[in-house]
Each structure stands twice: as structure tokens, then as C-alpha cells.
């Protein structure tokens, strides 16, 4: 079984060099960009030189205390986990119904699911914030979780539907023949088969919720800020906080969210998120 190696042939083409050159240029600049934030977060001060004159870790301690980072991180995780839990709990059964049944009005339901994914968050975020303010829910954890659920729930449904469509209906029929009720079919047959999909959807929602700026920004109050909102507020009011402390916080944010992504990549093959494709077996 020798696999024809496409890349070896690729290296001889000038076109391939252009592509890889472009990728290298992009990554080089990106690395420099990240490095400049990283260096600055350790710098005592850094003005107009290649590198700062002295390094310190004091800004991290500073950021931790001044921003109340412990509280913010706690809120972030709480919000993200609540959104993931609710979105999965509501979304997986809905995806099942959509995958298995054709019914009048299915297109309407699909539209209702697609719109929150397609519309920019600000578009429904502002009316939603207005409504939440009206019911005195804005600024609470409940409000933040509710707002983040709006894009998360359709996302779970859309990701899960193809996963469910792949499961042979005969398996379910067999379970029912053996006397399993709907609840048992779900608990004993479907959920175990769907674990990869559920993990994929859950982790992606987690990453998205941690990164969701607009909605949280519009509905959160001082006690219900997630990390990214706290970070933005600090960065947008320069002069109040030291730039290095803001950078330190940005580094903490990036570490948190890349840890989540690496976790996600361990469970999900990134190319299978949209379309469920079987890996091509080498012939």
C-alpha cells in the first residue's frame, strides 16, 4: 500500500511555492503580532526600541488584582458552561426531530434556526437588550446566558442534524422492537452513538461563547461581564489601565481560548465540522 504523496509532486511546481510563501508570510506576521503583545505584557516599559529594556511579571499580578480576573473568569466559565448545557439539552432533541421527520412548516422552523446564525449579532442584540432591560433582566447572569443561547442553540441543531442523519434508522427500529421506549432509545442507543457529535457541538459552542463579544457586551452588567467584554472595556478606555496590564489580560484570554480549541481539536476532526466526510482510505 504505497500512498501517492501529492506534496512531493507539489514541491516542484512554482505555483505551490507561491501558496506556501503566502502562508509563511501570513504566519510570520501573525507570530510577530502575537509576540509583540506577549513581549509588551512582560515589559517594564517599551518605547521606540526593538526590545524593552527590562522584563517583569508584575503586570500579570496587576491584571489579576485590578481587573478582578478571578471573578471575571468564574463568570465566563459559568456562562459558557450554562450556555453549552442548555443548548445541547434543547438542541439535540430538536435536531433529531428535524433529521427524522418531514412535516409541513419544516422550512419555517429551518428559517427560524438559520436567521440567528446569519444575522449579525448586533441586529438582534440591540432589540434583545431593549427587551431584557424592559423586564429588568439585563445585567444579570440570566440575561447574558439567554442572549448567548440565541446563536448557540441553532448552531447545535445545525451541527447535530447531519450527525443524526448518518445513524441508521434500523438501529432505532431494532431497539423499539426489543421494547425500548423513546426515552430509552435516546439514552441507550442514540446518545452513545452521538457522543462524538455532541462533544464537537458542545466544545464549538464553548469556544464561540467565550469569544462572543457583541451580545454579552450589550446585555451584561458589572457583575456579569465575561472576560472578552472586560478586556474590551479596559482596552477601549486607554489611560486608565497600563497598556501592559491589558496585554497581560489579552494573553490570559488567548491561553484560555486556545486551550479550549486544542481540546476541541482532540475530539473533532476540523474538516468534518460542516460535512460529514469519510477519510479517504489510501489505496
Amino acid at each position: 500500500m504505497t500512498v501517492p504523496t501529492p506534496h512531493r509532486a507539489g514541491w516542484r511546481q512554482p505555483y505551490a511555492w507561491i501558496v506556501w510563501g503566502g502562508v509563511a508570510f501570513f504566519l510570520l506576521n501573525l507570530a510577530a503580532l502575537i509576540l509583540s503583545v506577549l513581549v509588551n505584557s512582560f515589559a517594564v516599559n517599551w518605547f521606540g526600541t526593538w526590545l524593552p529594556s527590562a522584563l517583569t511579571t508584575a503586570w500579570y499580578a496587576d491584571a489579576w488584582q485590578e481587573f478582578g480576573l478571578a471573578d471575571v473568569l468564574q463568570v465566563t466559565l459559568l456562562v459558557a458552561l450554562a450556555v453549552v448545557g442548555l443548548a445541547l439539552l434543547l438542541g439535540v432533541p430538536a435536531a433529531y426531530a428535524l433529521a427524522r421527520r418531514d412535516f409541513a412548516g419544516k422550512r419555517l422552523v429551518m428559517l427560524l434556526l438559520l436567521l440567528p446564525v446569519l444575522l449579525p449579532p448586533i441586529t438582534y442584540g440591540i432589540p434583545l437588550a431593549t427587551v431584557l432591560y424592559k423586564f429588568h433582566l439585563a445585567g444579570t447572569m440570566f440575561g447574558v446566558i439567554a442572549a448567548n443561547l440565541v446563536p448557540a442553540l441553532p448552531f447545535v441543531v445545525l451541527v447535530m442534524t447531519p450527525f443524526i442523519e448518518q445513524i441508521d434508522t434500523n438501529i432505532e427500529s431494532a431497539a423499539r422492537m426489543c421494547g425500548a421506549r423513546t426515552r430509552q432509545v435516546f439514552a441507550r442507543v442514540l446518545v452513545p452513538l452521538l457522543i462524538p457529535g455532541i462533544l464537537a457541538a458542545g466544545i464549538l459552542v464553548l469556544v464561540r461563547t467565550v469569544a462572543m463579544f457583541e451580545l454579552t457586551f450589550l446585555v451584561s452588567g458589572p457583575d456579569s461581564q465575561t472576560l472578552i467584554v472586560a478586556l474590551y472595556s479596559a482596552a477601549f478606555t486607554p489611560g486608565i489601565r497600563a497598556a501592559q496590564a491589558i496585554d497581560a489580560m489579552a494573553v490570559v484570554y488567548t491561553l484560555l481560548s486556545s486551550a479550549l480549541l486544542v481540546l476541541a481539536l482532540m475530539f473533532v476532526n476540523p474538516t468534518q465540522i460542516v460535512a460529514q466526510v469519510k477519510e479517504v482510505t489510501p489505496e
Binding site: L30, L115, P127, L128, V157, A250, Y253, I273
Partner: protein, 299 residues
Amino acid sequence: MATAQPATLVLRHRLAERGIDRVLLLLIPAVLVLLALFLYPMLYGVGLSLQPRAGGGMLANYQAFFLDSYQSGTIWKTMRLALPAALINVGAAVPIAYRLRGRFRGRRLLTAILVLPVTLGTVLVADGLLRYLGPKGWFNRVLLDLGIVDEPVRLIYNYWGVLFSLLITGFPFAFLLVLSYMSGIDPTLERAAATLGAGPWQRVRHITLPLLAPGLATTFILAFVLAFSVFPSANLVGEPANETRVMAIAAYQAAFEKYDYSMAATIAVLMGVFELLVIALVLLWRGRFYTGTTGGKGS
């Protein structure tokens, strides 16, 4: 009792034939949540936009928006950022994903590296751009030392800073989607074309691209949606008072600086309308292109 049961059974069977049975109950919680948290606020927002704070007719807010060039100019400013950003992201993702479609050592690692910028977050990217591309930043230092430019290039606090930030945060998404669609294309098709004597470029042009086109349209839509709601970066690395005053900023200012929720809802509605307009055009193009050239082969 004895007669009622068969009747309900018959009804149940009839409904089941049309796909309506108890499985659909599973759909209800999700739909209710979306109705309450999405549709109701949206409709409330539309209603609010038709009740101007300053009085006037129902459409007074919309008139005010289009008559004030400082407000209506935001449409063009948003499009000017979002369209090129989405186009460049999708356009750059195609050749890279094409190179990465086969199996080779390091493929997974390279994919992970290209996807990782997703985690950077707008603030770190904005901060990084300010430091790296700033007049004293490494980028300008290299250019100055190499003698390419005489004075620092101005790349932040203007259009370019925001565009770069959109490219960095948007590219991983576009790349991931394109790679996914690319892996969905049966490689034997390309090999078959090669057997029939098609060169590399012909294979790309006549096999891969047509099959990829619907996926590219979808990717473009999602990349455009992502870029359309530029808000943090337009404020942080852009010139939010002028050159990068996008619709999101106008809506935010109306709501939380002028406390004119009616106007804010108007701008939010218009934002949705203009975005959906672009999406509709792309979908229209997608439909024509797909059926027109590849007829039959499912995606």
C-alpha cells in the same frame, strides 16, 4: 371509550403519514426558546423602529437615517470593509486548502496552526496590530531598516487596521470551511480527469472549482456575516469617528450614547436588511452556477 380509541388511532396514523407525530414534540422547547429570545425581540425591534422618539410618521426614523449622510454613509463603510474581507478570506483559503487536501505528514499540525488564530480574540488582535504595525512597531522598523520606506507607513487607526484585523480573525473560519468542502469532493473524479488527459490547471478549473462552488458560496456568506458585524476592531484599530464608522457603531451609539432605542432599532433592522440582501444575491448566484455547470452531481 371503545369507539373513541380507533378514531384517535386513525387520526394519529393520518398525521403520521404527513410526518406529524410525537417526535415533533422534541422540537417544541427549542422553537419556544427561539421564539421568545429571538423572534419576539426582533419583532419588538421592528415595531420600536416604527415609533420614532421625536414623532413624525411611522417611517420618520428611516427617512432620518437615509437623509443624514453621516448615518447612511455607514452602509457603504460597512460594505467596504466586509465585502473585501470576505472575498480575500475565501480567495486565500481556496489555494491553501487545495494544497492541503491530500494526506501527508504534518497536515493536521499545519491545519491546527492555520485555525489557531480563531482563539486570539478581537482585543488581542487589535492590541497586537497597534503594537506590531504602529509607527514604532517591528513591521515599520523592518521596512525602515531595509530602506523600503522613508517614514513609517500608517496602517493603524484607519481602514487598513480594521481590514487586517478582519482578515486575521476571519481567515481561519473560511479556511476550515473550504478545507471541509474540499475534502468532501471525491478524489477519484480528479484522477478520472487526469486519465482523460486533463492537465493540473484544467482539473482545477473544470472539476474541483465547479464542485466546490456551492461550498464557496456558503463559506463566503458565513465569512461575510462574520465581517459584517465588525464592532470591536472598528473601535479599537479603526477610526470610529470617521473612516470606519460602521453600522454597528452607529447602532450602538444611538442606543447607549443617545438613548434613542427607536433609532437604534432602526439601524439594527437596516443592518439586517442590507446583510440579507447580499446573502440573497450570493444564494441566487449559487443556485444558477451550480445547476448550470455541474448538473446532477450532489454536493
